[in-house]
């Protein structure tokens, strides 16, 4: 099987020849420091791209084509150009095309100013929104896509226009103000989300005019999960975000024959059914270190309708494991998620500066060694992981009446 055939099998829930492997998108590449250490470990003087930054905010790199081939990466990512960025004078900081200010902290950039924090609902239209028709944003991508399409058999993916609906709303309005809007001023939240939705739809139209005929998958990044629960309630997700995300997915799928991959970090188990209903084909990144993100249980519950991408944890597993433990975790994720296809193996986020080159190599070596179909992991996994016990879903009344009186 070539990469595109492998992808085709996996997304149609059939066994491929091996688990497809992914690396190199804006939330799934290597931090420049870990990339440099890996290059040193490989002692390959020709490994390039040390300074070719993919995403300025997280300081990751476009990995060298040579490395992608070494790791047998099946995907090649088209990344929209960063446009409308303004440097902030006298600081290591910039404003992005949305007007959000980012300042350098340690080894990445963090939001320090949200331009809509004091903007009233009636003044939203008058804000200096990015121009969705700025042709610079996607220039060069058609040529790249066409080249890959005609000369390789890699799966070609349109990377996300950075930021999603909830994430962008939180960044541009400010985390506390927008959380307050969600809890109490729904009309503001709706007005802002509608504005963002319109912009994304227009941008995706431009994007797909350029690359639509060549891509097999598109990626949309948002975050609705937190470490131990969802970031927002399932109710708010269902009423404010789900219909808008469905509209965006329909819009995109109406313009190109693509699979849609939706990204959310964190714990999102309560709304996976809703995510499927929105039209999502592939869920990324399956943050296994977040509460309840049990890969075996998710595959059992949703594996016939949803594919999984990621699941190799960068928060707890990769930084704090030995190479042997990394290999074991890879085996577990392939076993849990890969039965009958439906799984694309990838680090669940960027490989940070705290991950050793030994663990990076252990990850991709194990993917090759253990990802062959038919899967033969019986001798690798412990009995407890071969026959996991799925915890019964927590019985929780939908709208539990809380004591309305003081105790």
């Amino acid at each position: 099987m070539n990469a595109r055939e492998r992808f085709e099998a996996v997304v149609n829930h059939r066994d491929p020849d091996r688990v497809p492997v992914d690396l190199g998108r804006h939330v799934g590449s290597l931090h420049r420091l870990s990339y440099a250490r890996l290059a040193e470990k490989l002692s390959d003087p020709d490994l390039k791209n040390h300074d070719k930054i993919l995403d300025r905010m997280v300081q990751n790199v476009f990995p060298d084509e040579k490395l992608l081939r070494k790791f047998n990466v099946d995907f090649r990512w088209l990344v929209p150009n960063w446009v409308g960025v303004h440097e902030v004078e006298g600081e290591d900081a910039y404003r992005d095309m949305w007007g959000i200010k980012w300042t350098h902290m340690l080894d990445s950039y963090s939001v320090v100013d949200s331009p809509l924090k004091d903007v009233a609902i009636d003044d939203l239209d008058g804000y200096a929104w990015p121009d969705p028709y700025d042709s610079e944003m996607f220039s060069g991508l058609r040529e790249q896509a066409k080249h890959w399409y005609e000369n390789t058999d890699f799966v070609i993916v349109a990377d996300s226009i950075k930021g999603g609906l909830l994430t962008k709303a939180l960044q541009i309005r400010g985390y506390e103000p927008f959380f307050s809007d969600l809890a109490q001023d729904v009309s503001y939240a709706e007005a802002l989300l509608d504005k963002l939705l319109w912009l994304y739809k227009e941008m995706w139209s431009q994007y797909l005019k350029e690359v639509g005929p060549y891509v097999q998958m598109v990626y949309f990044t948002d975050d609705i999960g937190a470490q131990n629960s969802m970031m927002i309630s399932p109710d708010i997700f269902r009423t404010l975000l789900k219909p808008r995300l469905k509209e965006l997915i329909d819009h995109i799928k109406g313009q190109a024959d693509v699979k849609f991959m939706y990204h959310t970090d964190g714990s999102v188990v309560p709304v996976i059914g809703d995510i499927i209903e929105m039209g999502v084909d592939i869920l990324n990144p399956i943050q296994t270190s977040a509460l309840g993100m049990d890969t075996y249980a998710m595959k059992e519950a949703y594996g016939d309708r949803l594919c999984f991408h990621g699941a190799i944890d960068v928060q707890q597993m990769l930084p704090f494991s030995t190479p042997e433990e990394v290999r074991y975790d890879v085996a577990k994720r392939i076993y849990d998620l890969g039965r009958g296809g439906g799984y694309i193996l990838s680090p669940c986020h960027n490989i940070g500066s705290d991950v050793s080159p030994e663990n990076i190599l252990a990850l991709f070596d194990a993917a090759q060694e253990l990802g062959r179909y038919p899967l033969q992991l019986d001798t690798v996994l412990k009995p407890v992981d071969l026959n996991p016990v799925i915890a019964p879903p927590e019985e929780k009344p939908v709208a539990k009446k809380r004591p309305r009186r003081r105790p």
């Binding site: 963090s110 309630s233 003081r406």
Partner: protein, 228 residues
């Protein structure tokens, strides 16, 4: 107690849980005008409300947005009550120094902890975000708090816990305060590993753990019992 005073306490409790800041401030002011004790407003309405909010968060009914507006509403009342309580000579139940570690500017979780701690009677000294290790040491020396809390949101910044704790040790201040660590990637195991005293997954868990360790669960509880 007159009916209106009871209504005020009930209203404060309900509106604080719902995160409705305006009525919380209005009822606080009205209660004070009617001669209610600031501590009564705190102990009989606001603290029970925050405890309920913490419970709702932990059971998965409330999420960050609901908890945040509730904490903000509480804070509005606290700004009115705190100076009055301080002026009447009532000592805080303890002092807490808080900060997000160097290289990290995430502060939502930290700010929620601040409000919950103030709500149960702590004096909170918040050093802000991106706090240098030396600033934690200096704050320990200057304020001699009962507890120090450090927050980190990223695996790459939580390494600062160990750096800070070592520096605090070198300054001979390790025994001044209980040291708590928290933030998304932090675990109980990691807390142990860096030599901290406590870890809490959320604000109400922090308050509960700290009160238990300091043996201060009885003060406001006793008052509530008398009330009932």
């Amino acid at each position: 107690m007159s009916d209106r005073k009871d209504e005020i306490l009930d209203g404060l409790y309900d509106h604080a849980i719902e995160g409705e800041a305006e009525p919380v401030v209005a009822l606080t002011n009205e209660g004070l005008e009617l001669g209610m004790e600031p501590t009564a407003i705190l102990f009989y309405a606001l603290i029970p409300a925050m405890e309920e909010v913490g419970r709702l968060f932990e059971e998965g009914t409330y999420f960050v947005p609901e908890m945040m507006v509730a904490a903000k509403a509480m804070q509005g009342a606290m700004h009115i009550l705190q100076p009055l309580i301080a002026a009447s000579g009532i000592e805080p139940v303890g002092r807490f120094v808080m900060g997000t570690v160097k290289g990290d500017i995430h502060d939502i979780g930290k700010n929620l902890c601040d409000i919950m701690l103030e709500g149960v009677g702590f004096e909170v000294i918040d050093l802000g975000v991106n706090v240098a290790p030396e600033a934690f040491v200096e704050a320990l020396r200057e304020h001699q708090p009962h507890a120090l809390g450090m927050s980190a949101f990223l695996t790459t910044t939580m390494g600062m816990f160990k750096v800070n704790i070592e520096l605090i040790g070198q300054a001979g201040l390790r025994d001044v305060a209980l040291i708590y660590v928290g933030g998304a990637p932090v675990t109980q195991e990691y807390c142990k590993q860096v030599g901290a005293d406590g870890y809490a997954p959320n604000a109400s868990a922090l308050v509960r753990d700290l009160k238990a360790r300091m043996g201060i669960s009885s003060a406001e509880g006793g008052k509530q019992e008398r009330k009932e």
